[in-house]
Protein backbone atom coordinates (compact mmCIF):
# COMPACT_ATOMS: atom_id res chain seq x y z
CA UNK A 1 0.00 0.00 0.00
CA UNK A 2 1.35 3.46 -0.87
CA UNK A 3 1.81 5.87 1.96
CA UNK A 4 -0.21 9.13 2.00
CA UNK A 5 3.11 11.02 1.79
CA UNK A 6 4.03 9.25 -1.47
CA UNK A 7 0.58 9.91 -2.95
CA UNK A 8 0.76 13.60 -2.04
CA UNK A 9 4.28 13.83 -3.50
CA UNK A 10 3.07 12.26 -6.73
CA UNK A 11 0.14 14.71 -7.00
CA UNK A 12 2.35 17.74 -6.38
CA UNK A 13 4.85 16.52 -8.98
CA UNK A 14 2.24 15.92 -11.66
CA UNK A 15 0.49 19.22 -10.95
CA UNK A 16 3.71 21.22 -11.43
CA UNK A 17 4.64 19.07 -14.43
CA UNK A 18 1.27 19.79 -16.07
CA UNK A 19 1.63 23.53 -15.46
CA UNK A 20 5.10 23.53 -17.06
CA UNK A 21 3.88 21.46 -20.01
CA UNK A 22 0.87 23.71 -20.58
CA UNK A 23 3.07 26.83 -20.38
CA UNK A 24 5.43 25.27 -22.93
CA UNK A 25 2.58 24.41 -25.30
CA UNK A 26 1.12 27.93 -25.05
CA UNK A 27 4.55 29.49 -25.57
CA UNK A 28 5.10 27.47 -28.76
CA UNK A 29 1.65 28.36 -30.06
CA UNK A 30 2.27 32.07 -29.37
CA UNK A 31 5.68 31.80 -31.06
CA UNK A 32 4.13 30.34 -34.20
CA UNK A 33 1.46 33.04 -34.13
CA UNK A 34 4.08 35.76 -33.78
CA UNK A 35 5.96 34.42 -36.79
CA UNK A 36 2.71 34.22 -38.76
CA UNK A 37 1.90 37.84 -37.85
CA UNK A 38 5.38 38.91 -38.92
CA UNK A 39 4.90 37.14 -42.23
CA UNK A 40 1.55 38.78 -42.74
CA UNK A 41 2.45 42.35 -41.78
CA UNK A 42 5.70 42.81 -43.63
CA UNK A 43 4.27 42.53 -47.16
CA UNK A 44 1.99 45.45 -46.17
CA UNK A 45 5.03 47.70 -45.83
CA UNK A 46 6.31 46.52 -49.18
CA UNK A 47 2.99 46.84 -50.95
CA UNK A 48 2.13 50.29 -49.60
CA UNK A 49 5.56 51.64 -50.51
CA UNK A 50 5.35 50.29 -54.06
CA UNK A 51 1.88 51.82 -54.48
CA UNK A 52 3.17 55.09 -52.99
CA UNK A 53 5.89 55.27 -55.65
CA UNK A 54 3.31 55.50 -58.42
CA UNK A 55 2.48 59.01 -57.12
CA UNK A 56 6.05 60.01 -57.94
CA UNK A 57 6.32 58.32 -61.31
CA UNK A 58 3.29 59.15 -63.38
CA UNK A 59 0.22 60.45 -61.56
CA UNK A 60 0.76 64.18 -61.38
CA UNK A 61 3.44 64.81 -63.97
CA UNK A 62 5.13 63.36 -67.02
CA UNK A 63 8.56 62.92 -65.51
CA UNK A 64 9.89 61.02 -62.50
CA UNK A 65 9.64 63.15 -59.36
CA UNK A 66 7.98 66.10 -61.10
CA UNK A 67 4.52 67.26 -60.00
CA UNK A 68 2.45 69.64 -62.07
CA UNK A 69 0.50 71.61 -59.48
CA UNK A 70 -2.50 71.90 -61.82
CA UNK A 71 -2.81 68.11 -61.85
CA UNK A 72 -2.38 67.73 -58.09
CA UNK A 73 -6.09 67.25 -57.32
CA UNK A 74 -8.35 64.77 -55.53
CA UNK A 75 -9.78 63.71 -58.91
CA UNK A 76 -6.35 62.86 -60.34
CA UNK A 77 -5.50 60.90 -57.18
CA UNK A 78 -8.72 58.90 -57.43
CA UNK A 79 -8.21 58.26 -61.15
CA UNK A 80 -4.59 57.28 -60.69
CA UNK A 81 -5.25 55.03 -57.74
CA UNK A 82 -8.91 54.06 -57.52
CA UNK A 83 -10.01 52.27 -54.36
CA UNK A 84 -13.20 50.38 -53.58
CA UNK A 85 -13.36 50.73 -49.83
CA UNK A 86 -11.36 51.03 -46.64
CA UNK A 87 -10.29 47.42 -47.22
CA UNK A 88 -7.72 48.73 -49.72
CA UNK A 89 -4.60 50.75 -49.01
CA UNK A 90 -5.68 54.38 -48.99
CA UNK A 91 -3.60 57.51 -49.35
CA UNK A 92 -3.59 61.24 -48.70
CA UNK A 93 -0.85 63.48 -50.09
CA UNK A 94 0.46 66.83 -48.98
CA UNK A 95 2.91 69.25 -50.56
CA UNK A 96 4.42 71.08 -47.63
CA UNK A 97 5.73 74.26 -49.35
CA UNK A 98 2.82 74.55 -51.76
CA UNK A 99 0.48 73.99 -48.77
CA UNK A 100 -1.79 71.77 -50.80
CA UNK A 101 -3.33 68.55 -49.58
CA UNK A 102 -5.35 65.95 -51.46
CA UNK A 103 -7.18 62.99 -49.98
CA UNK A 104 -8.16 59.66 -51.54
CA UNK A 105 -11.85 58.72 -51.68
CA UNK A 106 -11.68 56.12 -48.93
CA UNK A 107 -8.96 57.63 -46.80
CA UNK A 108 -9.98 58.34 -43.23
CA UNK A 109 -7.64 59.98 -40.77
CA UNK A 110 -5.53 58.93 -39.01
CA UNK A 111 -2.68 57.50 -40.97
CA UNK A 112 -0.77 54.31 -40.14
CA UNK A 113 2.47 55.50 -41.70
CA UNK A 114 3.95 58.51 -43.48
CA UNK A 115 6.67 58.65 -46.12
CA UNK A 116 8.31 61.97 -47.01
CA UNK A 117 10.11 62.34 -50.33
CA UNK A 118 11.38 65.32 -52.33
CA UNK A 119 9.63 66.34 -55.53
CA UNK A 120 10.00 69.10 -58.09
CA UNK A 121 6.82 71.16 -58.31
CA UNK A 122 5.91 72.96 -61.52
CA UNK A 123 3.54 75.84 -60.92
CA UNK A 124 2.97 77.65 -64.25
CA UNK A 125 6.43 79.00 -65.07
CA UNK A 126 7.81 78.52 -61.58
CA UNK A 127 9.70 75.41 -60.55
CA UNK A 128 10.76 74.56 -57.00
CA UNK A 129 11.73 71.68 -54.74
CA UNK A 130 9.07 70.59 -52.27
CA UNK A 131 8.48 67.72 -49.87
CA UNK A 132 5.69 65.32 -50.66
CA UNK A 133 4.24 63.75 -47.52
CA UNK A 134 2.44 60.50 -48.28
CA UNK A 135 -0.04 59.45 -45.59
CA UNK A 136 -0.85 55.77 -45.71
CA UNK A 137 -3.92 54.13 -44.26
CA UNK A 138 -3.72 50.35 -44.21
CA UNK A 139 -6.75 48.13 -44.96
CA UNK A 140 -9.22 48.07 -42.10
Amino acid sequence: MTSPYATAKKYIFWTIFSIVLLTAVFSFVSLINRIKTNLATFPDELKEEIIAYRFLFSCFGDELGVIDLKRFTNETLNQCYPTESTKDFNFALKLSKAKRQIVGKNFYWSEDRTITLPVIVKDNNKEYVDNLIIYIRRPI
Binding site: L21, L31, L64, P118, I120, E127, V129
Partner: protein, 155 residues
Protein backbone atom coordinates in the same frame (compact mmCIF):
# COMPACT_ATOMS: atom_id res chain seq x y z
CA UNK B 1 11.51 14.83 -2.92
CA UNK B 2 14.74 16.61 -3.77
CA UNK B 3 15.29 14.24 -6.68
CA UNK B 4 11.82 15.04 -8.03
CA UNK B 5 12.49 18.76 -7.71
CA UNK B 6 15.77 18.36 -9.62
CA UNK B 7 14.00 16.33 -12.32
CA UNK B 8 11.43 19.09 -12.65
CA UNK B 9 14.08 21.80 -12.89
CA UNK B 10 15.93 19.86 -15.58
CA UNK B 11 12.68 19.44 -17.48
CA UNK B 12 11.90 23.18 -17.25
CA UNK B 13 15.43 24.03 -18.45
CA UNK B 14 15.05 21.58 -21.35
CA UNK B 15 11.72 23.13 -22.41
CA UNK B 16 13.25 26.62 -22.16
CA UNK B 17 16.19 25.62 -24.33
CA UNK B 18 13.88 24.00 -26.86
CA UNK B 19 11.82 27.18 -27.02
CA UNK B 20 14.90 29.35 -27.57
CA UNK B 21 16.20 27.06 -30.30
CA UNK B 22 12.84 26.88 -32.05
CA UNK B 23 12.35 30.65 -31.91
CA UNK B 24 15.80 31.40 -33.32
CA UNK B 25 15.59 28.74 -36.06
CA UNK B 26 12.11 29.75 -37.12
CA UNK B 27 12.57 33.50 -37.13
CA UNK B 28 16.15 33.76 -38.47
CA UNK B 29 15.37 33.13 -42.19
CA UNK B 30 12.34 35.40 -41.94
CA UNK B 31 14.38 38.21 -40.39
CA UNK B 32 17.03 37.82 -43.08
CA UNK B 33 14.44 38.01 -45.83
CA UNK B 34 12.92 41.08 -44.18
CA UNK B 35 16.32 42.77 -43.98
CA UNK B 36 17.02 42.12 -47.69
CA UNK B 37 13.67 43.62 -48.72
CA UNK B 38 14.09 46.63 -46.41
CA UNK B 39 17.58 47.18 -47.74
CA UNK B 40 16.32 47.11 -51.34
CA UNK B 41 13.51 49.52 -50.51
CA UNK B 42 16.01 51.91 -48.93
CA UNK B 43 18.21 51.68 -52.02
CA UNK B 44 15.23 52.43 -54.24
CA UNK B 45 14.34 55.43 -52.06
CA UNK B 46 17.85 56.91 -52.17
CA UNK B 47 18.14 56.25 -55.89
CA UNK B 48 14.96 58.28 -56.36
CA UNK B 49 16.10 61.13 -54.07
CA UNK B 50 19.45 61.31 -55.86
CA UNK B 51 17.68 61.44 -59.24
CA UNK B 52 15.38 64.28 -58.15
CA UNK B 53 18.33 66.13 -56.64
CA UNK B 54 20.26 65.97 -59.94
CA UNK B 55 17.18 67.04 -61.88
CA UNK B 56 16.41 70.08 -59.69
CA UNK B 57 17.59 73.52 -60.73
CA UNK B 58 19.52 76.39 -59.14
CA UNK B 59 19.20 79.66 -61.04
CA UNK B 60 18.26 77.86 -64.26
CA UNK B 61 21.14 75.39 -64.06
CA UNK B 62 20.46 71.76 -63.22
CA UNK B 63 22.21 70.19 -60.26
CA UNK B 64 23.49 67.59 -62.72
CA UNK B 65 25.43 70.27 -64.65
CA UNK B 66 26.70 71.83 -61.43
CA UNK B 67 27.73 68.52 -59.87
CA UNK B 68 30.61 67.84 -62.23
CA UNK B 69 31.66 71.47 -62.67
CA UNK B 70 31.79 72.20 -58.94
CA UNK B 71 35.24 70.64 -58.50
CA UNK B 72 36.98 73.24 -60.69
CA UNK B 73 34.59 76.15 -60.45
CA UNK B 74 34.08 77.92 -57.10
CA UNK B 75 30.89 79.62 -58.23
CA UNK B 76 29.42 76.28 -59.33
CA UNK B 77 30.41 74.74 -55.97
CA UNK B 78 28.60 77.51 -54.06
CA UNK B 79 25.53 77.00 -56.25
CA UNK B 80 25.78 73.24 -55.77
CA UNK B 81 25.84 73.66 -51.99
CA UNK B 82 22.82 75.95 -52.16
CA UNK B 83 20.93 73.45 -54.31
CA UNK B 84 21.98 70.45 -52.27
CA UNK B 85 20.90 72.08 -48.99
CA UNK B 86 17.28 71.52 -50.02
CA UNK B 87 17.96 67.77 -49.89
CA UNK B 88 20.51 67.61 -47.08
CA UNK B 89 17.95 66.37 -44.53
CA UNK B 90 17.57 63.19 -46.61
CA UNK B 91 21.30 62.60 -46.76
CA UNK B 92 22.32 63.69 -43.26
CA UNK B 93 23.14 60.14 -42.12
CA UNK B 94 25.29 59.32 -45.11
CA UNK B 95 28.16 60.36 -47.32
CA UNK B 96 28.03 61.91 -50.80
CA UNK B 97 30.99 61.16 -53.01
CA UNK B 98 31.54 62.84 -56.38
CA UNK B 99 34.20 61.34 -58.64
CA UNK B 100 35.67 59.49 -55.68
CA UNK B 101 35.91 62.53 -53.41
CA UNK B 102 33.80 63.07 -50.28
CA UNK B 103 31.84 66.33 -50.52
CA UNK B 104 29.17 65.87 -47.88
CA UNK B 105 29.49 63.96 -44.65
CA UNK B 106 27.73 63.95 -41.26
CA UNK B 107 25.40 66.70 -42.47
CA UNK B 108 28.26 69.06 -43.44
CA UNK B 109 29.90 70.07 -46.69
CA UNK B 110 33.56 69.18 -47.06
CA UNK B 111 35.44 72.13 -48.54
CA UNK B 112 38.56 71.75 -50.60
CA UNK B 113 37.73 68.58 -52.54
CA UNK B 114 40.60 66.69 -51.06
CA UNK B 115 39.10 64.00 -48.81
CA UNK B 116 39.24 60.56 -50.33
CA UNK B 117 36.76 58.09 -48.95
CA UNK B 118 39.38 55.36 -48.55
CA UNK B 119 38.35 51.80 -47.88
CA UNK B 120 35.12 51.89 -45.96
CA UNK B 121 32.37 49.50 -45.24
CA UNK B 122 29.53 50.86 -47.27
CA UNK B 123 25.93 50.25 -46.45
CA UNK B 124 23.22 51.11 -48.95
CA UNK B 125 25.53 52.12 -51.75
CA UNK B 126 23.71 53.98 -54.49
CA UNK B 127 25.96 54.78 -57.42
CA UNK B 128 25.18 56.74 -60.56
CA UNK B 129 27.57 56.76 -63.47
CA UNK B 130 27.63 59.34 -66.26
CA UNK B 131 29.77 59.99 -69.32
CA UNK B 132 30.38 63.64 -70.11
CA UNK B 133 32.56 64.42 -73.14
CA UNK B 134 33.73 60.81 -73.10
CA UNK B 135 34.91 61.06 -69.48
CA UNK B 136 33.38 58.90 -66.78
CA UNK B 137 31.87 60.64 -63.74
CA UNK B 138 30.24 59.12 -60.69
CA UNK B 139 28.07 60.29 -57.86
CA UNK B 140 27.63 57.96 -54.94
CA UNK B 141 25.67 57.95 -51.74
CA UNK B 142 26.21 55.51 -48.93
CA UNK B 143 25.92 55.08 -45.24
CA UNK B 144 29.29 54.46 -43.74
CA UNK B 145 29.68 51.68 -41.21
CA UNK B 146 33.15 52.60 -40.05
CA UNK B 147 36.42 53.72 -41.49
CA UNK B 148 38.64 50.72 -41.90
CA UNK B 149 41.56 51.88 -44.01
CA UNK B 150 43.89 49.37 -42.41
CA UNK B 151 41.76 46.55 -43.76
CA UNK B 152 41.69 45.65 -47.40
CA UNK B 153 37.95 45.77 -47.79
CA UNK B 154 36.44 46.02 -51.21
CA UNK B 155 32.78 46.01 -50.45
Amino acid sequence: MIEDAIDLLVFIAFIGLLYLLASSFLSAPLEKEKMVIKHNLEELRYEYILTVMLKSKVENETMFDLTFRAKDDKEAWEKWKKGFSRFSSYFKDGVIVIDGIVVFKEGKFIEGWSTKPGSVIKILPVKKKFFINGKEHTIEFYIEFEYAEHLDLNI
